[in-house]
Each structure stands twice: as structure tokens, then as C-alpha cells.
Amino acid sequence: MLTNILTKEDTHKQLFTMGHTGCSGCAQSMAVKLIMEVLGKNTIATSATGCLEVFSTKFPESSWNIPWIHSLFENSAAVASGIEAALQITGKKEGVTVLSQAGDGGTADIGLQALSGMFERGHDVLYVCYDNGAYMNTGYQRSGLTPYDSFTTTSPSGKISFGNNRPKKYMPEIAMAHKIPYTAVASTGYPIDLQKKVKKTLSIKGPKYLQIDVPCVPGWKYEPRYSVKIAQLAVQSGLYPLFEAEYGKVVSVKKISKRVPVEEYLKLQGRFKHLFKNEAGKAEIEKIQKIADENIEQFGLL
């Protein structure tokens, strides 16, 4: 850890405090805790409507020890733009980080327009997308970032369906297409790598995009203790490549240390269990393996 958490009192002083109502084993709250530790108290944060906002700020309680605002679902990046503009014009921006947060739906679906605007206008904002691959807060409906063949409540598997029949929208490349100074993908499976990337954003002016794989216990349907393991398997299988890009060009990748077949990753999760029932399911797993293989080739992960 960057700071020493030696005593019980130290745990209570964290910038994102316990006492929130996130699920047991929630990887998103883990990610927020790790990010806040790096960014420090001179941070103003926005959150889109979603799990994080709901479980951290049930009136009159708040888990945030930094100034924080939630407005709506689709405008986290625009609200952050306004905050940044206000800080700039009043000369208060120096030394202050503006953090804009949303889930995958609030980022890549309903919030994509506001996010693209923030990128293109060049606001000095760190945007974090907590990607759990569906609309978890409303009960696990499909989003644009839901992976191929995943069960969700609006892309259920059935007699003639294997679940979500579209590939995951590749949001980091959309961010990179804006030629912003920094784009990175991280995972709660690798907290040191995650914190290193967050730390890097502190030295970069302009828009930064950080997407984090945050497994979801009830949405992905696994036991809470596997939150880290599943995130690591996503990376080691090649399904969730971790990398950094600057001005639209990939500059570093996290190499796979011990490659695993996608099956290892899929079999731990209830959202993929329909793929393990018959021969047709096996063929689907082959297709998912192909997605991983393509990622490995594209990013040079081995």
C-alpha cells in the first residue's frame, strides 16, 4: 500500500470509507478504495447514477471524505467538465484532481456523448469507467460492454440463445481515437498495476481515461471470495488486456505471466454456465477463445 494502514483508526481515515452498502466482495468498492488512496484528498469527484453512487451516499450517510457530486446517469463527464472550468477560472485548479466516474453503461452507452465531449474539449479530468459488463444496479441487464455469450436479464440464454450475441464494445479504443494524452486499462486483480496507472495520471494534464475490470458478485454469479481470482483469470486468459496508450498509441502492455484457456475464467461464473451444458456450448467457448487469441495477438500479450 502507498500509505500505512497500521491500526483500526487508520482504516477509518480512508478517503472512501467503510460503512457503505456495497455487496460483500464488491470489486468496484475495492477499485474506488485503491484509486482514492493514490489521488489523495485534493480531489473533487463526480459519480454517475449507478451502484457506486447508490451504495456510497444513502442520505444522510456518505462514504466520501472528499467533495463529491452525483447528478444524473449520463452526465458525469459533463459535470466534471463544469467543475474543472470553475476551478480554472477561479485559479483553484492547481494541485486539484477532478475525477469523473461511471459504470460501463454510464460510460459507453448513455454517457458516451458527454464523455466524448469532455475528451474533445481537453478538460483536465481523470475519467474512470468501472466495467462490470452490464447494468448491475438495475438488476443485471445487458450493456454495450457485456461480453459475448454472457447471460444477463435482458440477454438471457435460452433454448435458442447463448445469451448476449454481440461482442463487447471496445471502449478504450474509442477513447484512444480522441487522441487524449492517456488511456489505460486496469483490473482489480492487479492492484499494484492499477495504482501505478492512477499515479501516472497525476502527472498528465488533459483528459485521461482509465477503464477497470470490476467483477460483480451477484451479476456474474460467483462466490464473493473469487472477486480477485476471476479478475486475474480475465487478464491471464487474454479476455481483458491491460495496457497503456498515449495520444492514441499503445505504449505498454501487461504481459500474460501464466496463460490460461478461457474455460478456466468462464467456468467460475454463473453468467456463463449455459456454455457448459452441451456440445453447442463447447463451440461457443471456442469462439470466446478466439476473441482472447485475437486480443493476445493484437496487443502482443505473450
Binding site: P67, S71, N75, A86, L87
Partner: protein, 394 residues
């Protein structure tokens, strides 16, 4: 100083005087000239503000929301579809008690698409918690924006204020406007914004929390009280403005030639100019006729309107919006105000006119006055329709 100014110039000039720190807008006819003028002021260094060029009205409202939460004065402007697109954010701004000022260059709502004036757009936001003031002419548009900040930023109000100006009729028309020469006087009238709670790293509160059923209704009750209680603040803002700048166009309402009147025309916005011309003429020929201008539509001055109308025979309500499936909006609310005070002696005639930029002519108004004297209550009747067009086959 007296100047010949386009409505949009008058508005942007008064915004310059109010010195907002963050301006954000997305272009839409007929609001464009306002934000173009403001952009130029920023480009020339005449207004020290961040002008955030956003990709939509939704983001424009969100940017000023975020900036306002930091405790700085903000401004945005829109119209029609843009306002409807902003609607979600306006509700949010009001709920979070942020003193944003926005101009609505009133324009008809699609379909069919029309860039021309009526008040359907701002009417759609009447329940949002935003204060709605309506300007009659360019002078009032100028004065009203400065007053709008005074009202919005009052610690007992803390709500967005929407200044409604008729698109094209005011925004694109040149009139003589007396502007304020010294910005120091405006600063005296409008002291720097000082909010109790802001996004401040030294005092880190969380804004926009979840309101469970145990707190939601009380929060909305508080909001409802804030907008109801803003009536006295609107009156004070108008009176203080008169004292300091010598201009007064009414506060919540403004009666015109209403003493001894037995027929009164009630309206909002630029159509009042035409109505007053007709009334002036009829007064000369001895008709007892007057005009009641509604200057604040939200909060709705029900008591003040009732007090003004209680002794008259005929009220003619002219409005440029319609509640589809019900009828007139303003007429319905005035009828409700009279009913609440158990006044049933007034013959209320509500007409929907001028939608989508159709002219409301002096002849229309003469005809309505004659009609009113002969008939019983009318509610939300479309007036001035072209029957030939209605019967034509396309």
C-alpha cells in the same frame, strides 16, 4: 445609456454585467445570437469567463450544474428541443438547489418542426422547480436577467431561474434599450455569489445523495416551500432594481390601465405590446378595458392575480401554449386561482393563439373583446385558425 439593441444583444450585455464565471451552451435557433455575443465578449476579454462549448444541451446544463456546485455564477441559454433535452438536468439543478440562470428563447416544439415563437417549450418545464420569469420587451429582458441572479442567489431561494424571452420577436428585433453604464452599480445590486455549501476540498460534502422514501417527500416539500417563498424575493428584486436603476416593469404581475376596467386581457411576453396598443385605442373611445401582465409564471402569483381580477366582468386570457388533452395552461391556472378564492363572478375566456409563430393581430384582439362581452366561459379554444387550410386535401 440608451442604445438600439437587438434583444439577444441586450441579454448578452446584461449577462456581461452580471459577470458569470462559467457559461456553457449549445447552439439552437433562436438562442444563437445570445451565445454568439457572449462568446465574442469572452474572446475579446470583455467578460472574464470560461465559455464551455459543449456537444449538447444536456451537457450544457450539466456543465453549469457542476460549476455552480463549485460556488461560481453560471449561465446557459437554449430553446425548444434544446430545453426539452435539458429538462432532466433542470429538474436536477432545482432539486440540488443550485442558482443557475438560463435564458429560454421561446420557440415552438416539434412536430412539425418549427423555429418560430410560442411558449410550449418553457411550459413543459413548469413543474421542474425552476423559477420562470417572462419578459415583455428588450428593456425588460435586459433588466430581468440581472434581477434573475439576485433572486436565484438569495439564500432562502437557491433555485434556477429561467428567463423566458420570445424567440425572434424579441431575440432578433432591435429596440431602444437603456443599459447600465457602471458595472460597479450592478456589483452593488448583485453582490458576489456566496453559497453555504460548495464542492470544496477543505470542506468536503457529498452532493446529490440517494433520497429513500423516508426522506424524499420532505426534501420535495422543502423545495416547494423555497419556490413559493421566492415570491417576496422577486418583489424585492424588482423594487430594489427600481430604486437603484430607475426601471420597473412589474414584479410578479403588472396591471396596466386596470382601474375601473370591466374587461381585462391577461397574457405573458411580447404579445403584451400588441395588446396594450389595442387597449390604448379602446380606452380613448371610452371602453373600460385593461391588461394584466403575468411576469412570474413560476412561482404562480395566484393570490395577486385573484386580487387584480376579482372585481372585473370579463377576463380574456391569451396564451401561446397548450396542454394537449386539457386545453389552456395559463387559463386553467387562473380559473383555479379564482375558484380557490370562491370568485365566480368573472367570465373567463381562455384562448390558444399564436402557436408556431402565427401573428396575433390587433384585429384578433378586438374580435376577442367583442366576443367576450357576448359569451360565457371559454376554456382553451384555438383562435385564429385558417379554416380553408383545415378543409383542404393535401
Amino acid at each position: 445609456m440608451k442604445k438600439v439593441l437587438e434583444g439577444s444583444m441586450a441579454i448578452s450585455d446584461s449577462i456581461r454585467m452580471a459577470e458569470p464565471k462559467v457559461i456553457s451552451a449549445y447552439p439552437i435557433t433562436p438562442q444563437t445570437h445570445i451565445v454568439e455575443h457572449l462568446s465574442q465578449m469572452v474572446a475579446d476579454g470583455d467578460l472574464k469567463a470560461e465559455y464551455v462549448m459543449v456537444e449538447s444541451e444536456h451537457s450544457a446544463a450539466s456543465v453549469v450544474l457542476g460549476a455552480s456546485a463549485c460556488g461560481v455564477r453560471t449561465y446557459t441559454a437554449t430553446a425548444a428541443q434544446g430545453l426539452l433535452y435539458m429538462e432532466e438536468v433542470i429538474y436536477n439543478i432545482a432539486g440540488m438547489r443550485l442558482p443557475v440562470v438560463l435564458t429560454v428563447a421561446n420557440r415552438a416544439v416539434s412536430a412539425p418542426i418549427s423555429i418560430w415563437n410560442d411558449m410550449q417549450d418553457s411550459m413543459a418545464l413548469r413543474d421542474s422547480g425552476a423559477i420562470q420569469l417572462v419578459a415583455e420587451n428588450n428593456q425588460e429582458a435586459y433588466d430581468m436577467h440581472i434581477q434573475a441572479y439576485k433572486i436565484a442567489e438569495n439564500p432562502n431561494v437557491m433555485l434556477p431561474v429561467m428567463v423566458c424571452v420570445d424567440g425572434f420577436v424579441l431575440t432578433h428585433t432591435f429596440e431602444v434599450v437603456e443599459t447600465i453604464d457602471h458595472i460597479e452599480k450592478v456589483r452593488e445590486y448583485l453582490p458576489p455569489l456566496n453559497m453555504e455549501y460548495t464542492l470544496d476540498i477543505n470542506n468536503p460534502f457529498s452532493f446529490g445523495t440517494v433520497g429513500e422514501p423516508s426522506v424524499y417527500i420532505e426534501t420535495r416539500f422543502r423545495l416547494s416551500n423555497a419556490i413559493n417563498n421566492s415570491k417576496s424575493v422577486i418583489v424585492d428584486a424588482a423594487n430594489d432594481y427600481r430604486e437603484m436603476f430607475g426601471k420597473y416593469e412589474g414584479a410578479l404581475i403588472d396591471p396596466y390601465k386596470m382601474d375601473d376596467a370591466d374587461t381585462v386581457i391577461v397574457a405573458m411576453g411580447s404579445v403584451l405590446g400588441t395588446i396594450k396598443d389595442v387597449v390604448d385605442e379602446l380606452r380613448e373611445s371610452g371602453k373600460k378595458i385593461g391588461v394584466l401582465k403575468i411576469r412570474s409564471f413560476r412561482p404562480f402569483p395566484a393570490d395577486e392575480i385573484t386580487d387584480a381580477l376579482k372585481n372585473i366582468k370579463n377576463a380574456i386570457i391569451i396564451e401561446k401554449a397548450v396542454s394537449l388533452g386539457k386545453g389552456g395552461i395559463l387559463s386553467c391556472e387562473i380559473r383555479d386561482a379564482l375558484y380557490q378564492h370562491r370568485i365566480n363572478s368573472v367570465n373567463v375566456n381562455g384562448y390558444i393563439m399564436g402557436l408556431g409563430g402565427r401573428d396575433i393581430t390587433p384585429k384578433n384582439i378586438y374580435d376577442l373583446i367583442i366576443k367576450a362581452e357576448k359569451q360565457e366561459d371559454v376554456d382553451g379554444e384555438f383562435y385564429g385558425l385558417n379554416n380553408e387550410l383545415l378543409n383542404k386535401v393535401f
